[in-house]
Symmetry: C2
Subunit: 79 residues, 2 copies
């Protein structure tokens, strides 16, 4: 996975999950240092509807598998 | 919420999410320092089935609202 390419895709994520992966909103999770495999699984679940969330569904719909892997690698890399 | 009471309820969580909230399993999320409101929302979603997960459903089913608030406060408190 390409961490820099992932970072470049996170502008829309950062609005809620924070520029550094620390969410500014209590209801939204921190992503900083989260497991890449978990982030990847959840983004795919939001995309295919197996995890239902009205906010995340349209975000995930814009991402292909490569984007998802890169974004997951980026957040996992944050210390 | 009662952080110590929450900690006392996390023995079953720790098997997968780690004694310190850092998961030992790539597919499972870290919980250390996660937002309490987010953890609380997700535990309730696993319990009521609005978020479906065969592993988490039976875990969440054993928890009442007070347990959930305490567990969420405990993980949020970890630095």
């Amino acid at each position: 996975a390409d961490i820099e390419a992932g970072k470049a895709k996170t502008a829309m994520c950062a609005a809620c999950h924070g520029a550094d992966g620390i969410s500014m909103i209590p209801m939204y999770p921190n992503l900083k240092g989260q497991k890449a495999a978990y982030i990847e699984k959840q983004l795919k679940a939001f995309k295919d509807g197996s995890r239902q969330d009205p906010t995340m569904a349209p975000m995930a719909a814009t991402l292909n598998d490569e984007d998802i892997a890169n974004i997951a690698a980026y957040y996992a890399s944050l210390q």
